[in-house]
Symmetry: C2
């Protein structure tokens, strides 16, 4: 009886987008980060914005109650940004919270509920010790079955990697290639948390050892560095430290308006023409760990809504919480055949000047992963790339269509958006 | 620039509604409670439901991450109810989470995003010790300023009560009248947590003392009981224990469908014709603590959307987290003049057979307050009353229009819905 996906009745235009610096900021709370992103978004609006015109705030946030002891997070943010009495709604779907908040805003504009909506995401994670962050993140799994059996999130994705390796002959070096590429992109992103190439990171460590008169590591290149159990320790076999996204503080915001009034804000909008979201069972109930079904399902809905196919997409920001996740995503989205995603990385297809650039921002891996903000920050990267404002990491050709892909937990939630630039 | 409220383009029909028993259930987690409510809702649908037809789940939940260590709550519930791959979205706005989830579902139907939506709320609170629950609830306040200064939620509402007393000469007995009335209603609600009148509670204590050979309390009536510092201890002056809603486990669900297809499910639907939501600053920034501004703002929007006024409403479920909150709500909603709400309680206007019955379910005070579920459970009561299915607590006249009022925190969020029965 479900309706099949149909084109949006109203055009959805992004007219502003911005983000805070991503990183570890002991002196900032989530309000500070939210305001940083909000001001960055505001200053990106070519013709300005009166915040009192905002009709609703959808805020992606995973767990400010656990991380900071602050819930009711959307209303708190609406107040600090001067948006009251506008409705403020916090949306939580684990690490897909930002993308799901974006979807609420997109649907609200697309179906005429509102004309001007703020979508934001925020997460302040670095104030807790790492083991407590790991526990907080475990709440995105199934705490009745999976977590008591000893799983953590690196463990979940390690299990997926093992199955993928067995099935498709992936080697650990294939994972490292994803990390190397994303750090190359992230090194060109001034907002990135780990905005440095792995080679530069290696050289810094060598320099530091020299200065301190310590034994100088015998790394000849980044591969030696990544294979070194000291420099890149095993977290959950076969995933090492540099296969994992970092624990990051950050926020991102975008302003969505109805296409009819977009010109009041900018002559250069980016449109969202498709959105899809799907849910799935927990990992332990799935028949195949080598892929994420919710990605394929959400993608199908998004493509049908937009009236495009995977091949039409020029660039994509995908959910690389772990290196394996990027490879799986590019397959589940239909960019590449199942089992071939890692070969495309090796062939350079997914680099900035490749045929299908993936995670030009640096991705969650290098840009950072403040979980509730990540899905919104992906849209910020697409906005910058489509408007040719991505600076040193700008893709050097037209980008009529792009995609963002945001995953919650082990893939119990997936949400996808499709962006259009009209040249 | 904001659009003024307008009638919904599509009719929004409730075709099923149900709830779990509210109470303290050490053996149940939030999944169990959710399934109890889901099955109760399903069995209320006159012509049946195939769960696979549900297009989206909006779940109100305040803090399952803190209470149970389980986040990603909406996807988890979608899985246990067999709803995957439908989009599952958790909505958090403190104690208004359920009402705000309801609003997302209502708007989705009203504007044609979906045709069949499940709205649920769930909270499992009683597994933590009371002081930890108090801390978890404090996260709904402003943790940068208010909580470090020593406020808890009883403290917030005590401050509001003090101001109200000073301004409008309310006495503590006026608060007790709200508790007495709501327990009378709740004693007729088989799903209520504290489904007993205060008089019966007093008599049970007397009987228990007699049986145990202990000194027999000298209470002659419920007033003696409520004024007794042992039986009804002070929590935060002037609020005593029986001015506070309990810590409750529970869940509630309603099925919303487009008016065009309502007849596929029932010949006896209830319609939602108005919805309003507003945010406000934290309590410490407000100029007047005797009222909740967000209630008035949200009500104005809901009334305008529905094309009705406060006087047109026959019954209402309002957010009586504390007795004072019910009195404030009936004024802020425009039912009674500011400063006169407590007099209307005294005059019996708000009893079941009064001119404006308030909280026929027993309210949060007696029915219980599983915070993320409360806003949805309010709609369940309206459904039963409007369909004349409320049993012993049925209001004995036609109810063409009703209202629900759900508050987050100290009123930083308020969300209101208006219901219509077409006779």
């Amino acid at each position: 009886m479900s309706k099949s996906p149909q084109a949006f009745p109203h055009q959805v235009a992004i007219v502003g987008a911005g983000m805070s610096k991503f990183g570890s900021f002991p002196e900032k709370n989530s309000r500070d980060l939210f305001i940083d992103a909000f001001q960055s978004m505001r200053s990106s609006i070519d013709k300005g914005l009166d915040p009192r015109d905002i009709e609703a705030l959808y805020l992606g946030n995973f767990s400010s109650d656990v991380f900071e002891g602050q819930a009711h997070t959307a209303a708190v943010m609406a107040d600090v940004a001067g948006l009251t009495p506008c409705p403020a709604i916090r949306v939580e779907d684990a690490c897909a919270s930002g993308g799901v908040a974006l979807r609420q805003g997109v649907l609200a504009i697309a179906y005429g509920i509102y004309e001007i909506v703020l979508v934001s995401g925020v997460e302040k994670m670095s104030n807790l010790p790492t083991d407590k962050v790991t526990n907080a993140l475990a709440a995105a799994g199934d705490i009745s079955y999976e977590i008591p059996s000893g799983f953590t999130f690196p463990g979940f994705y390690a299990a997926m990697t093992s199955v993928y390796m067995h099935k498709y002959k992936l080697q650990t070096e294939d994972l490292m290639r994803v990390a190397i590429k994303n750090h190359q992109n992230g090194s060109l992103n001034p907002k990135a948390h780990l905005g440095i190439t792995i080679l530069d990171m290696m050289n810094k460590r060598i320099d530091s050892a020299k200065k301190k008169g310590k034994p100088i590591p015998l790394w000849e290149n980044e591969w030696d560095f990544l294979r070194d159990d000291q420099a890149n320790p095993m977290v959950a076999w076969p995933l090492r430290l540099f296969d994992c996204s970092p624990i990051t503080d950050g926020s991102a915001s975008i302003l969505l308006v109805s296409g009819e009034i977009a010109k009041q804000f900018t002559d250069n909008p980016v449109f969202i023409i498709g959105s899809g979201q799907a849910s799935d069972c927990p990992l332990h109930d799935r028949s195949d760990l080598s892929k994420i079904r919710a990605t394929s399902k959400a993608a199908q809905i998004a493509y049908e809504t937009a009236g495009v196919s995977a091949n039409d997409i020029q660039i994509a920001e995908v959910h690389d919480c772990f290196t394996i996740a990027e490879i799986q995503a590019t397959e589940d989205l239909g960019f590449f055949e199942q089992g071939t995603g890692y070969k495309m990385v090796e062939e350079g297809v997914t680099t900035r000047d490749g045929r299908k650039p993936i995670n030009t921002s640096g991705g969650l891996k290098s840009k950072g992963h403040p979980v509730g903000a990540s899905g919104v920050a992906q849209a910020v990267e697409i906005w910058e790339q489509m408007r040719s404002e991505a600076g040193a990491r700008q893709v050097t050709r037209d980008i009529p269509l792009a995609l963002t892909h945001n995953v919650g937990g082990t893939g119990q939630t997936c949400v996808i958006h499709i962006f259009e630039r009209r040249y």
